[in-house]
Symmetry: C2
Subunit: 115 residues, 2 copies
């Protein structure tokens, strides 16, 4: 378990912006060019390019140039570390619930069999 994983920072940060989530949403349906990504957002190209670089830094998107158009593709594997972290977190929480359960169970046993 990484104590302090910089990749998670990039991942969560990338997802924390509505424009970037919109772009990912589009890319989950299939590859797209930069202009097509920009379309629905109403933002200028340089802005979109910046967002794209954030998504690429997080590994969520890979892109390549084909002629004069850059084709961007969603990289679902990049989500894995986040899912792992969420899973760890869930386990911790449920472990706590289990222990609470034990506690209550023991309490009731004591009530039933106690002095």
């Amino acid at each position: 378990m990484a104590k302090h994983d910089p990749h998670l920072d990039l991942l969560f940060h990338a997802l924390s912006d509505p424009t970037r989530r919109m772009m990912l949403n589009r890319l989950a349906r299939g590859p797209a060019a930069v202009t097509e990504l920009a379309g629905p957002t109403g933002l200028r190209l340089p802005t979109i390019l910046r967002h794209l670089s954030v998504l690429e830094a997080a590994g969520l998107v890979a892109s390549q140039k084909d002629g004069r158009v850059r084709s961007c593709a969603f990289q679902p594997k990049a989500m894995a570390p986040m899912h792992d972290w969420l899973e760890d977190q869930r386990r911790l929480w449920e472990g706590r619930l289990d222990r609470l359960d034990d506690y209550v169970t023991n309490l009731m046993k004591e009530r039933n069999h106690g002095p």
Copy 2:
């Protein structure tokens, strides 16, 4: 499907910082006071309090004062919107894979029965 959910911004942003994830990790094991949260981070109290307010803004933590100590508790339900979004995203992606599958299948049918 929310087109532009500000709550998701807060949620992902809250998780994008290693200090805050560390705090959540501690809280998933059970409630803790502010000083206890600060301990492992090596950061000053005012800084921790700021992080705490970010976590509270995202709904991930609830706190209350008991005497002079503030007790903080993890709120697992706050994770739900994020899980929903991730699930939507996964569905989109898998839908795409299915369609790709169909495409390949059709292509092979045409190859077999075509002119």
